[in-house]
């Protein structure tokens, strides 16, 4: 044989054997998750114990995983998608990629936190807040509205993470409540004022250590930082926008079953588990998650502001939408 034929054959044989070495377990469940790894790990472990079904998780940012699911189409290995924010689920629903959930699963959670057409269910909620450094913000009067942060007096004092998946719903919310022009103007103001971080963890830590006065984050980042650093390490507090301002946006993290699921039974079981009292208790008591469990009657972690005292803006899931316009607006404003 000629050297390259032989080499080619050898190479091909090696490649094939490498490819075949992949484990393919049909009985297990494949979960695409944009929820925080810490939280998902807890839930998956508990679910595996309770059900005997093993779960494999692919993690990523919400929009990234949604893009991946859309690109994969029918070839997707995923059974369940666990979103970090509802617009991701709305995007999948819009593409007819989610299957209808049974009434028993949907009924567990108040209807306003679920898909309007019953294709996904809410699991937890997170509140948008402002993290405020005690020293640096001492002389500042807090903004009545999220939109005020675009004003010149906040120049250099604000931290944001525009490419974090959690920032997109905020843009969509401002857009839905105030219109495109106002949203664009707000984003341009943020670009002039803000220090950019890669993610909300970075924003929370930077404000806490005193690099910047205030930062836009979801509530749980601050609570987690407090667990890590202890009360002594905290040099910051949370400011809640009230009165139904868009800044007090309540984001819903939920889950849905894909139409192309290979293991639809197990997938439905997992989603139903997420809304069960057992899972919601795990979430509430974990000292890791710090989001609001959406099952009525489960009390959130004591460090959180009571759920009934939150004053989110009047937005339903439909109106908040699928975030498809958020990234283009961020680009136009020079934030992305």
């Amino acid at each position: 044989m000629k050297p390259f034929i032989k080499q080619g054959l050898l190479g091909a044989a090696t490649l094939i054997s490498l490819g075949l070495a992949l484990p393919a377990n049909a009985a297990s469940l494949i979960l695409y998750s944009a929820q925080h790894p810490q939280t998902v790990k807890l839930l998956v472990k508990d679910f595996e114990q309770a059900s005997g079904i093993s779960v494999k998780v692919r993690e990523g940012e919400g929009p990234e995983l949604v893009a991946q699911l859309m690109a994969e189409g029918k070839a997707s290995p995923a059974d369940v998608y666990f979103a970090s924010n509802s617009p991701e689920l709305m995007a999948l629903e819009g593409k007819q990629m989610l299957t209808h959930l049974p009434a028993t699963t949907l009924a567990a959670i108040p209807a306003k936190y679920n898909s309007p057409s019953g294709n996904w269910v809410g699991v937890t909620a997170r509140e948008n807040v402002l993290v405020v450094n005690n020293k640096l913000a001492a002389g500042l009067s807090m903004p009545a509205s999220l939109l005020d942060l675009a004003a010149p007096q906040w120049k250099g004092k604000l931290a944001i993470a525009p490419s974090d998946g959690d920032f997109l719903p905020l843009v969509s919310a401002v857009r839905a409540l105030k219109g495109d022009a106002a949203a664009q103007k707000w984003l341009k103001g943020l670009r002039d004022n803000a220090q950019m971080f890669d993610d909300n963890e970075g924003v929370a830590a930077a404000v806490n250590r005193g690099s910047v006065a205030v930062g836009i984050i979801n509530n749980y980042y601050w609570a987690r930082l407090q667990v890590e650093l202890g009360a002594k390490g905290m040099h910051s507090q949370l400011y809640h926008f009230g009165n139904g301002d868009v800044g007090a946006l309540l984001n819903v993290s939920g889950a849905g079953v894909l139409k192309t699921a290979h293991n639809a039974d197990a997938a439905q079981k997992f989603v139903s588990y997420l809304t069960s009292a057992r899972a919601q208790q795990v979430l509430a008591k974990s000292n890791i998650t710090f989001e609001y469990p959406l099952l009525p009657g489960i009390a959130p972690a004591p460090v959180l502001k009571p759920f009934s005292q939150l004053a989110p803006p009047p937005l339903d899931m439909q109106k908040l939408g699928d975030d498809s316009q958020a990234a283009p607006m961020l680009r136009k404003a020079g934030l992305l």
Partner: protein, 538 residues
């Protein structure tokens, strides 16, 4: 060469196979880039213009140009100066300084950035990015330049001195021109590596095209924007390749000069000044080695809470991640070297226009970040070969595409060293083609192939973006675990993973040096860009 001038039909047939194999490898290499170009071409022109003319792109272009230019220049100066002092002056503990100058490249950039950024939040943005990159990449200049210095003929210098040239003028008029190919080759590799750097820039909050492609991919709900931005980066890489092309052609006049007897070049006596140089080397090592490593040591002793650690630390998880990294590294290195053989052979035995073109294709890939290659491969595998999607093989293929240029350079020089006369002699004595490969070529080229493999291994275990995108479900490597933790600022949880990865890359760097040692270093001096090529992406 004389044997080849008598081309038989058989030899032509063999040559045909060679070109076919090299062409196939080139097609595999170029496939993700073609897909990206195709994808970008599919999009609406208005949308395309929107993406590339939006406000952020101007600042990205400025940032990218600024960091590439300044890192390249600083690495050039630092590499040249430290190579000259360690090769040409008499210093105490002479053997130590080359070692300390090369060692920083074994600390992955996203680990040293993590060390710096966790030390103080002032260490962010451009100055910090410059600090981290110059530390990591100046060995890319140091290595080829010091090899070239060692290979220079001392007779020329002595003649120049006896004719009355002072030491400074001798350096600028005689030594520097001879070092040019090595110096510029190394600097171009620094430039390409900087262009495709990702992890360090994200951690240090410095935005370039590469970081923004990833951000676009994360937040965009589709990969069109990422593909469009990649085009800008491709153009930048092509520009640098063109520059390198010109430099090489100019440099070729210095290559392979007939030399007199080989002997050690003279070392300059510095008197008390030598302590100043020693202090300089020590200070440099503090910044490039001691500080990052001791920060890592500090975080090892700290407790990280589960609430802020996306990846916690346990013996099982540490073992799994190390195992995955090593497994992917070994398999990827094997595949890469295998694919590099036809191209390397072609370059060594049949240099010419076709070979040079194929070499450029490989180099173009080198200036493109892993994320672009990975995005292209995702599309290819979903649309064309669905069975490959999310398979380990696809990830290995991505590694092979990313790091084949490195392997190719090393394979080529290894095969150059294995003289073609011996190959032909073996054939004329009745050995078949494959027997010649097995019994003559491969044994002779083994150290060079080993060097190529250890270099690819090193690059794979520290690779980040392609691994993040393409790893099969459930496969976590040391690099992805460190990334998950450091990007959530869980520095303590990341430390044990970072430690293992640093040790792993130090061992493979050591192996690389060992395999390149002795004669190889002297040989490489003849083609300065070679060593540099072998150490890019480290």
């Amino acid at each position: 060469m004389a044997f080849y001038s008598l081309k038989t039909g058989r030899a032509r047939y063999r040559q045909g196979w060679l070109f076919a194999a090299a062409l196939a490898v080139c097609l595999v290499l170029a496939s993700p880039l073609l897909v990206i170009v195709w994808q970008a071409a599919q999009s609406d022109p208005a949308d395309f213009i929107d993406t590339l003319w939006r406000p952020l792109v101007a600042s990205l272009a400025l940032n990218t140009a600024l960091i590439v230019a300044s890192t390249t220049l600083l690495c050039g100066v630092l590499g040249l100066v430290s190579a000259w002092f360690s090769e040409r002056t008499r210093l105490p503990w002479q053997g130590l300084w080359p070692l300390l100058s090369v060692a920083p490249m074994a600390v992955p950039t996203f680990i040293s950035s993590y060390a710096w950024v966790s030390l103080s939040d002032d260490l962010q943005g451009f100055p910090a990015a410059l600090l981290v990159l110059v530390s990591a990449y100046s060995p890319l200049v140091f290595l080829p330049v010091s090899a070239a210095l060692r290979g220079l003929d001392p007779a020329l210098e002595e003649t120049a001195r006896t004719l009355g040239l002072g030491p400074w003028r001798c350096f600028f008029r005689l030594i520097l021109p001879q070092l040019r190919p090595a110096l510029l080759g190394g600097m171009l590799l620094v430039a390409l590596s900087t262009l495709s750097e990702f992890g360090a820039f994200v951690l240090l909050r410095f935005r370039t095209f590469t970081t923004e492609i990833f951000a676009e991919y994360r937040a965009g709900f589709d990969s069109h924007g990422a593909a469009q931005l990649s085009i800008a980066l491709l153009l930048a890489a092509a520009l640098l390749i063109g520059l390198e092309w010109r430099v090489r052609r100019q440099a070729s006049s210095y290559e392979r000069r007939a030399r007199g007897t080989r002997r050690a070049p003279p070392r300059l006596e510095l008197g008390a000044g030598k302590w100043l140089v020693v202090a300089g080397f020590l200070l440099l090592s503090c910044v490039t080695l001691l500080l990052p490593l001791s920060t890592l040591g500090y975080w090892l002793t700290q407790h990280g809470d589960a609430a802020v650690s996306p990846v916690e630390v346990s013996a099982q998880l540490l073992f799994d991640a190390s195992f995955s990294s090593i497994e992917l590294g070994l398999e990827g290195a094997a595949l890469t070297v295998l694919l590099a053989l036809p191209l390397g052979y072609l370059l060594a035995r049949r240099p010419g226009r076709v070979a040079a073109f194929m070499e450029r294709v490989a180099f173009l890939v080198q200036g493109v970040p892993g994320i672009v290659i990975a995005l292209g491969l995702v599309t290819v595998s979903i649309r064309v070969i669905p069975g490959l999607y999310q398979s380990q093989f696809l990830l290995l293929l991505a590694y092979a595409i990313l790091f084949l240029p490195l392997a190719m350079v090393s394979v080529r020089s290894a095969l150059l060293q294995a003289e073609s006369r011996l190959e032909e002699l073996a054939r004329s004595l009745g050995l078949k083609g494959w027997q010649t490969w097995l019994r003559v070529l491969l044994p002779m080229a083994a150290p060079g192939l080993g060097a190529a493999a250890s270099l690819v291994f090193l690059s794979i275990v520290t690779e980040l973006t392609a691994t993040l995108l393409l790893s099969p479900i459930g496969t976590e490597t040391l690099a992805t675990q460190i990334w998950a933790d450091t990007s959530a600022m869980a520095f303590a949880a990341a430390a044990p993973y970072a430690l293992i990865l640093t040790v792993l890359s130090m061992v493979s760097t050591w192996l690389l040096m060992l395999l390149l040692g002795g004669n190889a270093i002297n040989r490489l001096a003849a083609d300065g860009t070679t060593v540099a090529g072998e150490t890019a992406h480290v």
